[in-house]
C-alpha cells in the first residue's frame, strides 16, 4: 500500500512524497504510521482532535474517504492513499 503526499508537504516528510507501508488496515493507521516519524507532517494533515483538516482531502484508489468511512476507510495491499490539498483561499 502506498501513501502519496502533495509536493508541498515533502519538506516536513523528510523530502519524500511517497511511502510504501505494510501492515496497516485503515487510512487512520496509515497516517498514524507516517505521522510517528514526521510529527510536523501529522499536524499538517490532522488537528489535535485527530480530524482531517477541512481542506485536506484523502482518496483511496480515487474515492474521497469523506464519502466512505472517513479515517476508518479500509485499505489493503496494492491500494493507494492519495493526499491532496483542496481548493481554498482567496
Amino acid at each position: 500500500m502506498t501513501l502519496v503526499l502533495p509536493t508541498v508537504l515533502a519538506e516536513v516528510a523528510g523530502g519524500r512524497t511517497e511511502f510504501a507501508l505494510t501492515g496497516v488496515s485503515s487510512v487512520r493507521a496509515a497516517l498514524d504510521n507516517v505521522g510517528e516519524s514526521y510529527p510536523i507532517l501529522a499536524r499538517r494533515l490532522r488537528d489535535e482532535r485527530g480530524q482531517l483538516r477541512r481542506y485536506v482531502n484523502v482518496y483511496v484508489d480515487g474515492d474521497d474517504v469523506r464519502r466512505r468511512e472517513g479515517l476508518d476507510t479500509a485499505v489493503g495491499e496494492g491500494q493507494e492513499i492519495l493526499v491532496i490539498q483542496s481548493v481554498a483561499g482567496g
Binding site: L9, P39, I40, R43, R44, L45, D47, E48, R49, Q51, R53, Y55, V56, Q85, S86, A88, G89
Partner: protein
Amino acid sequence: MDNPRYLLAIGTKKGLWLATSRDRREWELSDPQFLMQEIPSIGIDTREGRTRLLVGVRSEHFGPTVVHSDDLGQTWTEPERASIAFAEGDDAAVERIWQILPDTEDRPGVVWAGVQPISVWKSTDGGESFELNRALWEHPDKGDWGAGYGGAAAHSIVPDRKDAELVHIAMSTGGVYRSRDGGESWERASKGISAYFLPDPEPEMGQCVHKIAADVDGRLYAQNHRGVFRSDDQGERWVSIAEGLPADFGFVMLTHPRRAGTAWVIPLVSDYERIAPDGHLAVHRTDDAGETWKKFDGGLPERDFNVVLRDAAAVDGGDPVGVYFGTRGGSVYASGDEGESFVEVASRLPDVLCVRAAELW
C-alpha cells in the same frame, strides 16, 4: 541591510515581510517569506541578548503553527512537538494564533499567546512550548463568550509590568478579564465598557473589546466596538476618554513603553462605516491619559479607504518611540517621532494583519 538598528515585521494574509532601517526614514523591505500563508501574529523578543522572531503562521490547508528565528529571519525553526496544541481530552483544536507577546525584561523566557478558540497560553522557554491556562479555558463564563467577525479569540494579553501576578486579557466578544494570581483564576473586569448590541448596554461581560493596552503606570486603555475607555483601577471601572476624537470606533490601542499617559488610536467612523473619517487615515495621540487628543497625519495619504486592524499597529522601544501601522490595502507606515509624521515602508502588500517593531541596539 547590514547591521540595521530597527526591525519591522509585517504579517499579512499571504506572507511575512521584514523591513529594516538605520534611521526609521529609509527602509529596506525583504522578499516575502511563508508566501501564501497567513501571518496573524508576531512577537519580537529582544531579551537575553538575542533577537528572537516568533511568528504565528496559518495555512488555509494545513492549519496553524508557531515558528521562530534567532537570525532575523534567515532561518526558521518549527518544534517537532506543536508549540501550542490542545490535549486529547480538551476536544478542541487551535484555529489561529492571534497574539504572541514576550513578557517584561525581568521575566526572561516568558512569552504569552492568545489563541482562537478563546484561550491564553504561557511559555517559559522563550516561546518554544506553551501551556494552556486551564482556569480561563474552564471559566464559568465561557459559554457566554462569542465570536466577533474575525473569530472568537483572546486577542489582548497585558501582564502588569511591576506585579507578576497581575494579568489582564481581552476577547471579542467577552470583554476584559483580570487575574491577580498569575492566571490561577480570572474575574470580569469590564464594568463601564459599553455594549450597545446587548439588552443591557453596560453589562459585566460580553463586550466586544477590540484591543487593550497598559501604560507604564499600569493604567489601562481600551478601544472598544464603539467607545474608547480608560481604567485607573486595574479594570474595576472604565471611563470614556472618547471626547476629542472624531469617532469612537476602531481597532488599535497602543501605549508608550516609558511615558505614562501617552496612547495612540486610529479612529474609524463607526461599525457601519469602517473607514477613517473623510477617508483620511490619521493617528490620534493623547499625552494626558485621554483628557485631550491630537491628530497627526503627516506623510499619510490624502485618501485611503482601508482599515487598520487591531494588531496591525505597534510601537518600538526607541527614543523617541517609533509608531507603525499597516492597512488592509497593504500599505505600511513608520514614524520615528512618536506618530507625528510617517514614511511609507511598503505598499500594495496583501492585507496587513499585524506589525511588530523593535530597536535592535
